[in-house]
């Protein structure tokens, strides 16, 4: 294999060298516990405060509103369970969407077993939630709305500001999973009327195992991990200091470079989509054509299956992902692709390529050259292609 091309940045990103460089001293030299009184502890505390300030600035929030967690999944779990449990005397109803990340969906399903009621809003063919649907779903028992800022599979960007406005008018807490959005979408929690926001460092060139939950001052939410005074008594456990330092540096860089990066990514993304769709017949773009993450390409190729496609791409050095059942470990393809109305057979043939700041135009050229050959080869093997060249019916 001559070259390897990483097009799975929505799964995880590499850690930027300048991020790692800031982290390293906190493993070996400045390793104090931020809760300690001595100079080692104070040094660690200062670094922790700096990371919190950087994170707050990236969201236009106040540092006291930033709570570090072990990642995006923990932040989602905490936001939803924390608000639900702390507000159950006010109501038992939660509104979310059918295309959320499993960290939100499975948490909501868990709460249903505990007696809460959850509305899972549908989305349109582009994966867009209707603001009107959100408003209609609100009852006097609704305590929380949770809608992701941008979808991890198809990249569709949701009308967060409009939903935030409605949540505010109805005095319902509003949480958004912004894990895929940091560094791609400008965020101002006050402008967006967001009360809680989840993020994860390894999606924006920071380290794994660290994330944060923004909690607006005054939001009623209980602690997530009991057992210590860390994170303002809400999330016990000695801080993952080096990780948090990395998050702080990475989010600062992500916001700084956003405009430049987005421009580059959108150019590569649109070229990839256009070229592949013109070269390969019976292909559809999943997600919104414009309101989508700068690095997200999600295509369905009829008559073939996604895992075979991924294996073939991998043999050519190209790393992507798929919503096919064979890659999810279950019998059903991606819930997101089904929610936008794709039939099972077309969802099985999906391919997600997510671009990042290390990708080059030459790499995109190579994908444009190789991918159509792979699709054609698999189609020649497929009994469906010969039987039904007219295209399968969309549901």
């Amino acid at each position: 294999m001559e070259q390897r091309i990483y097009l799975d940045h929505a799964a995880t990103t590499y850690t930027k060298p300048e991020v790692l460089e800031e982290m390293l001293p906190y493993f070996t030299k400045a390793y104090g516990n931020p809760s300690s009184v001595h100079s080692f502890g104070r040094e660690a505390r200062r670094a922790l405060d700096k990371a919190r300030k950087r994170t707050a600035e990236a969201l236009k929030a106040d540092p006291v509103e930033i709570y570090f967690t072990s990642g995006g999944s923990e932040a989602d779990n905490w936001a939803i369970k924390g608000v639900a449990l702390a507000n159950k005397n006010k109501g038992d109803h939660i509104i979310t969407t059918s295309i959320e990340h499993p960290a939100v969906l499975d948490t909501c399903r868990y709460l249903e077993k505990e007696g809460f009621k959850v509305t899972y809003l549908p989305v349109d063919q582009y994966g867009m939630v209707s603001v009107k649907d959100v408003e209609k779903a609100i009852t006097d028992k609704t305590i929380l709305i949770s809608v992701m800022m941008a979808n991890n599979e198809i990249g569709t960007i949701q009308p967060i500001k409009e939903i935030g406005q409605i949540a505010k008018e109805h005095k319902v807490y509003f949480h958004t999973d912004a894990v895929q959005a940091i560094g791609s979408i400008p965020i101002d929690v006050n402008d967006l009327n967001v009360d809680l926001l989840s993020l994860s460092a390894h999606k924006f060139y920071g380290p794994n195992g660290v994330g944060a939950l923004y909690i607006r001052k005054g939001v009623k939410i209980g602690p997530y991990i009991h057992g210590g005074a860390q994170e303002r008594n809400k999330r016990a456990g000695t801080e993952n200091l080096a990780g948090i330092i990395g998050l702080g540096k990475a989010i600062e860089l992500a916001v700084e470079n956003m405009e430049k990066n987005n421009k580059k990514l959108i150019g590569m993304r649109d070229r990839l989509i256009k070229e592949i769709m013109s070269k390969v017949e019976y292909t559809r773009l999943n997600g919104h054509p414009e309101k989508r993450l700068p690095g997200n390409v999600n295509l369905s190729f009829e008559f073939i299956e996604g895992e075979a496609l991924l294996l073939s791409l991998d043999l050519k050095g190209i790393a992507g992902s798929s919503g096919s059942a064979c890659t999810s470990g279950s019998l059903d393809p991606s819930h997101v692709l089904l929610a936008i109305g794709l039939s099972h057979e077309i969802a099985h043939g999906s391919l997600r390529l997510t671009l990042g700041d290390d990708n080059t135009d030459q790499e995109i050229d190579y994908v444009i050259e190789v991918l159509p050959e792979i699709v054609n080869r698999l189609r020649e093997m497929s009994p469906l292609f010969a039987q039904d060249k007219g295209g399968l019916e969309y549901v």
């Binding site: 008559f303 073939i304 299956e305 996604g306 895992e307 075979a308 294996l311 043999l315 096919s324 059942a325 064979c326 470990g329 019998l331 393809p333 039939s343 099972h344 057979e345 099985h348 020649e380 093997m381 497929s382 009994p383 469906l384 010969a386 399968l392």
Partner: protein, 122 residues
Amino acid sequence: MYSEQVMDHFTNPRNVGEIDNPDGVGQVGNAKCGDIMKVTLKIKDDIIEDVKFKTFGCGAAIATSSMSTELIKGKNIHEALKITNKAVAEALGGLPPVKMHCSVLAEEAVKMAIEDYLSKQK
């Protein structure tokens, strides 16, 4: 996660295609589940002279299709009917547990094609 043999049969599948005027045809699976296999046979005096397959499915589905055609080619149909999905999986150096159902598909498609041939002989 896949053995070398699986990757070999996935990368260079044997006997891909469809036989014109086949003596037996078998097609199993459905697109909803993400895998379909179609087998066509040329049979003379109960010997499988030629076999071709087409498969819509994952890497394991394509590899098991390919291997099962290899295993039955040139065999007497009664011998071919005795080839189990386990034998196909073993010949491929094993399959991940979640992929064992793909080998069942290959076994069923072959059986259906042979039974199709037998039903035409009556």
